[in-house]
């Protein structure tokens, strides 16, 4: 019985998903949209309920498979809030999703379950199953608008590359089992501290590579721009936030808890991946003309920033990562919500097509502009504080490992470069050039529903709140990191 209470939040999400699927049978076609609201309300209630979960000390369930601690709870809240925004986003464009809107919501909820399980996984079998649950649902979610060639292309690319990444992961897990004799993180941590073991290291390296796919970081970053451009926008938002954070959670679990000695020995690898990913992301983003594609490259660059925090192997670095993710949630939530409303197809997401958006809808333009400013890392918005904390944590590691100074410098350079293309988007909206002004397609004002306004304001206030008064969320993050022995 006690094991069931440990997975209470996940159970609630699964029940919601199945109810949406079943309720679909009795819902007339014109009211399908209401099911999106039902799912969103349920996820909102579960999110609020997650704050009632008190865990004085880490709790293991299901024979050590599942660990409920502050860290997993932080990630679970992050996933729930992400899913809430994404579900509202999908409901907003329900009529554009031809092939079964309720199933679209249910699949998102299944992916959410996978992410929440991944945050608590404490055994490689659980890790694999949770990741497959996320991956399989995203294969479907990316190719959901199957009449559109771009969406299908995105789905196939994601499927093939995802399968390759999964095979890396599974082979790595097999080698870890062969060398370590166990898949359980707690037991692995005991046995892996007894000196170096090359087969175990090779296995963990393959696991690492498999997880970089989730973060869209080097060497598995190629899929991101194409998939971001082609897939339906709510899917992309979920991919950029949820799927990426699930990868971060597992990297922390594997390299901070299951094999801490090997992980710390590999801070060079983490730093190298961070540098390569940041540079690749910002340099390739410069020539982009499509906003969704630009956000794809920006997501790669931000994966690099996450690796910057992970490579410090220190408590401040890790809490900075957690804070950065929270800031990223509000920022990207606003950006993708605006994209959903402004650009129904990938072609209309071209940056020049945004010209004059502030006349069509001041709120949309303001939300997009603020999220771009936040992504660029300008104070006083959330993104600034996230990047500030990450670079600060890297500098703190500098005295013991001077290469961190170089990496922090590189991160600053990446921030400066990124300001250029993020401000290009703002310029296109407010001060379009002569050429861009000519191709504005429909200059009519965009009418926003009350709920849309509420969500946009929620994201804007979140961005400002995290930037101006970061202590509340930072406390949560630091509290979550305390569960790890650092």
């Amino acid at each position: 019985m006690s094991d069931l209470t440990a997975i209470g939040l996940e159970l609630a999400v699964v029940v919601t998903a199945l109810s949406v699927l079943v309720l679909d049978l009795w819902t007339p076609p014109e009211q399908k949209r209401a099911l999106g609201y039902v799912a969103a309300i349920a996820v909102g209630v579960i999110f609020v309920a997650s704050f009632a979960v008190l865990i004085p000390e880490p709790r293991m369930a299901f024979g050590g498979m599942f660990r409920l601690d502050e860290l997993s709870l932080y990630f679970k809240r992050f996933f729930l809030l992400t899913a809430l925004v994404v579900l509202l986003m999908s409901t907003e464009i329900a009529d554009r999703i031809e092939a079964g809107f309720p199933e679209y919501c249910a699949l998102q909820l299944f992916a959410l379950t996978g992410m929440m399980l991944a945050a608590s996984a404490y055994h490689f079998a659980m890790v694999f199953v949770a990741l497959e649950l996320i991956a399989v649902t995203f294969y479907i979610l990316t190719s959901y608008q199957r009449r559109r060639l771009a969406s299908l292309e995105a789905g196939v690319k994601y499927l093939v590359l995802g399968a390759v990444a999964s095979s890396f992961l599974v082979y790595g897990i097999a080698l870890v089992f062969g060398a370590g004799g166990t898949l359980d993180f707690a037991r692995l941590a005991n046995s892996s501290n007894t000196g170096s073991h090359r087969v175990l290291e090779l296995g963990l390296l393959l696991v690492f590579l498999g997880l970089t796919f989730k973060l869209a970081s080097v060497p598995f970053q190629f899929w991101a721009p194409d998939v971001y451009q082609g897939a339906p926008t709510p899917t992309v938002a979920f991919l950029a936030l949820g799927s990426k954070a699930a990868g971060v959670a597992l990297l922390i679990r594997v390299f901070y808890e299951a094999a801490p000695a090997i992980g710390r020995g590999w801070h060079g690898l983490f730093a190298g991946v961070s540098a390569a990913t940041m540079l690749y992301g910002v340099l390739c983003a410069i020539p982009q003309r499509n906003l969704k594609r630009l956000l794809g490259y920006s997501s790669i660059a931000n994966g690099g920033f996450v690796f910057l925090g992970l490579s410090t192997f220190s408590a401040p670095g890790l809490s900075a990562v957690l804070y950065f993710l929270a800031a990223y949630l509000f920022t990207l939530g606003a950006a993708f919500f605006v994209l959903c409303l402004v650009a129904p197809t990938a072609e209309t997401a071209d940056i020049p097509a945004l010209a004059g958006l502030h006349r069509r809808s001041p709120l949309l333009a303001a939300a997009l502009a603020l999220s771009m400013v936040s992504l660029a890392g300008i104070p006083p918005l959330a993104g600034f504080f996230g990047k500030f904390l990450l670079i600060k944590a890297a500098l703190e590691r500098g005295p013991s490992w001077p290469a961190m100074y170089a990496l922090a410098g590189l991160a600053l350079l990446a921030v400066v470069i990124s300001i250029y293309y993020y401000f290009g988007v703002i310029r296109a909206m407010y001060w379009p050039g002569e050429r861009e002004r000519g191709i504005v397609r429909d200059p009519e004002p965009i009418v926003l529903s009350g709920l849309t306004r509420a969500v946009l304001w929620f994201c804007i206030i979140g961005m400002l709140w995290l930037g101006i008064a970061p202590d509340k969320v930072l406390n949560l993050a630091e509290h979550a990191v305390r569960a790890l022995a650092l």
Partner: protein, 166 residues
């Protein structure tokens, strides 16, 4: 007797595996796929020698039965002539060589460094009842989560393949 059988199955696995990727007589993908069936069947023979009867059966039923039929379906949709004309490229040679070297290194490294766990090799449980007991005790949570993967996959397959109500 067991030793002889092991060598027979191991040799069969290796020879058939080699013929899957580099068949000197036929370059047809269908032949490769059929040799893959033989590889899998001889692999399942090795599982039987390890007393893992259930795994052996699953190996044949799932891989030889289900996965390969899917392979064949896909192969039938390809242009077989074009596939037969394709030559081994330099990239393929180098990549394959590197992979072979990596596996060779693994085979050298594993026995030398296997002393990490003092408990010895994990006990092989071959019977279905032992496997079922494990699935419903230690591996209960992943086992239940797999059912969600199946549901999601099923919903997706129906959605992506059904006729549009126009």
């Amino acid at each position: 007797m067991q030793d002889i059988l092991f060598y027979v199955f191991a040799a069969l696995t290796l020879v058939c595996g080699f013929l899957v990727v580099a068949n000197p007589i036929s370059r047809s993908p269908v032949t490769s796929a059929l040799f893959l069936v033989l590889t899998i069947v001889s692999l399942s023979g090795l599982f039987v020698l390890l007393h893992a009867f259930f795994l052996a059966a699953v190996q044949v039923v799932v891989y030889a039965g289900a996965a390969l039929v899917l392979f064949l379906f896909v192969i039938m949709m390809l242009d077989l002539r074009a596939e037969e004309r394709r030559r081994i490229t330099r990239f393929g040679l180098i990549g394959g060589g590197l992979a072979a070297l990596a596996v060779a290194w693994l085979f050298r490294a594993v026995p030398r460094e296997a002393a990490l766990v003092a408990s010895g090799p994990p006990h092989v449980e071959g019977s279905t009842s032992a496997l079922g007991a494990l699935l419903f005790t230690q591996y209960l949570l992943p086992f239940e989560a797999i059912s969600l993967v199946l549901v999601a996959g099923m919903v997706g397959a129906i959605l992506l393949s059904r006729k549009e109500p126009s």
